[in-house]
């Protein structure tokens, strides 16, 4: 069976048109939030902290800020896209079309990755203004941006299919994503933690995402790269299969 490329592209351009209607929410908000993080934690607080691994505190913080925004942008993109389409019933336009379930998922995840890449580039531009951007490895950087976006894009779809109310969309963000990303090493190294707390960092998947992106940008790492890569690929594959299965059985879509 051939891929319905025109259908896929239609899903993407339709979502781009929708995002153009909400530019403040889609583009401006993450950039302002990143700017504040960079300014306060990197510039104001960081001025009082000595270098980490030979890098200024601001340079150390920037990859974590980029990763936090990638995670939020990915999750927000897929939850809002799928949930609102369910809420308006406009998802039926896709359900009655000759798009396969894999194509429906690919269409949603493609826009998730695009939005994450643009968010990351926007924050990098802000980082440049503060002279804090380094790039150790572009392929590594793209790996982390793309695969972490996929993980949270898939998670967002699962939540959007499960949610019956707007409030339920935020459950994962409030109780899981925000706390784990905050303690995942955005602002500190593992070495800065008391020894009894370090196991918490190594057991937190966000630590590996942030650490991976930090290595891509600075060449600085606190954990073996293979663990992070394997974990990320494993989670992306696991959530991808779950989403595909949910689409195939129609959970939350065609019940």
């Amino acid at each position: 069976m051939t891929v319905n490329w025109i259908g896929l592209w239609t899903m993407i351009r339709r979502e781009i048109q929708r995002l153009m209607r909400v530019p403040i929410q889609a583009v401006v908000a993450p950039l302002i939030s990143a700017l504040l993080f960079i300014f306060i934690f990197g510039f104001v607080v960081g001025g009082r902290i000595s270098s980490i691994g030979g890098y200024r505190y601001l340079e150390f913080v920037l990859p974590g800020v980029v990763m936090m925004n990638i995670v939020n942008a990915s999750f927000l993109q897929s939850t809002s896209q799928v949930y609102f389409q369910r809420f308006q019933k406009s998802i039926e336009e896709i359900l009655v079309s000759p798009l396969s379930y894999v194509e429906m998922i690919m269409g949603t995840i493609s826009i998730v990755i695009l939005r994450s890449v643009f968010t990351a580039i926007g924050i990098m531009f802000i980082g440049m203004a503060f002279g804090a951007v380094h790039m150790h490895s572009v392929p590594e950087f793209l790996f982390w941006v793309i695969f972490v976006s996929m993980i949270f894009g898939f998670l967002g779809i699962i939540v959007a299919l499960w949610a019956k109310t707007f409030e339920q969309l935020n459950v994962l963000v409030v109780f899981f994503i925000t706390p784990l990303s905050m303690v995942g090493g955005v602002f500190n190294t593992v070495a800065m933690l008391p020894p009894w707390l370090r196991w918490l960092a190594f057991g937190n998947p966000f630590f590996y995402f942030i650490n991976g992106l930090r290595h891509a940008m600075l060449g600085f790492s606190e954990a073996p790269a293979l663990i992070g890569v394997a974990l990320t690929l494993g989670l992306a594959a696991l959530f991808g299969v779950i989403v595909w299965r949910l689409y195939a059985i129609g959970w939350g879509l065609r019940e």
Binding site: K89, P98, E255
Partner: protein, 250 residues
């Protein structure tokens, strides 16, 4: 000849336990104009949703021009156009985009889409309104957009779920003419409606569904040989009171 639509022992039970369709079997032949009647909640829309992929059937089989609508859903959906009862669109999008996106999902190339959309926008008198957000359109104009969307892929089987509900007489008459034209050109049409005169005028075969089961099914003429015509047959088949049937017979 392969039927345009063949539904066999369709059953749909929602998660809540509601049995929306108990046992529906029907065959629509290519080129037919088929009326699907029944009171609210009888199972008409659920049957249509099962045919078009909006909902999963619990059991039974659905074949569209011989293609399994569940097992080979992609090929089956290429053959169908749906105008649903509810406005299932992004209300902030404009009419042209709504029709264009549907053409895109069906894999139509940009030039082909543009030509088809221009024709449909003209045909449904939407030229003045093509770039307005859907939510700003009147009920009748919204219905026209939904109809144009259903026809963008030039479907072999066109399913219209109460297409004239809430529209003015002018559009209704115009739509009737257009549907007859499409049908003459070979499009098979499945129509649900609460307007019996609409079904009488357009359809060649009629099925009446009640409580999730087909209770009458046959050529239109069969219904007219009885006293009271379609109205009485409908009331009798759907178990309405004898008084209603007597009034209809007069």
């Amino acid at each position: 000849m392969t039927p345009a639509l063949e539904i066999s022992h369709l059953r749909k039970v929602y998660k809540s336990g509601t049995v929306a369709v108990e046992d529906v079997s029907l065959t629509i032949h290519p080129g037919d104009f088929f009326g699907f009647l029944g009171p609210n909640g009888a199972g008409k829309s659920t049957t249509i949703h099962c045919v078009t992929g909006i909902t999963n059937p619990t059991s039974g089989t659905i074949r569209i021009f011989g293609v399994d609508a569940v097992g080979d859903y992609r090929n089956a959906r290429r053959l169908v156009g749906l105008s649903p009862q509810e406005f299932n669109v992004d209300p902030f999008a404009n009419a042209r985009n709504i029709v264009d996106w549907m053409g895109g999902y069906f894999g139509m190339r940009a030039a082909e889409r543009r030509k088809r959309i221009d024709m449909l926008i003209q045909r449904f008198d939407l030229v003045q309104h093509a770039n307005k957000p859907f939510r700003e359109l009147s009920g009748g104009l919204k219905r026209r957009v939904i109809l144009a969307r259903a026809m963008v892929n030039d479907p072999k089987l066109l399913i219209l779920d109460e297409p004239t509900a809430g529209v003015d007489v002018e559009l209704r008459m115009d739509l009737w003419r257009y549907l007859q034209e499409l049908n003459r050109d070979g499009t098979t049409i499945l129509l649900t409606s609460h307007y019996l005169e609409e079904v009488e005028r357009l359809c060649r075969n009629i099925a009446i569904v009640n409580k999730g089961r087909i209770v009458r099914n046959g050529p239109k003429e069969e219904f007219f040989t009885e006293p009271g015509g379609l109205e009485r047959a409908y009331l009798a088949a759907t178990g309405r009171s004898a008084e209603h049937a007597v009034v209809a017979a007069r």
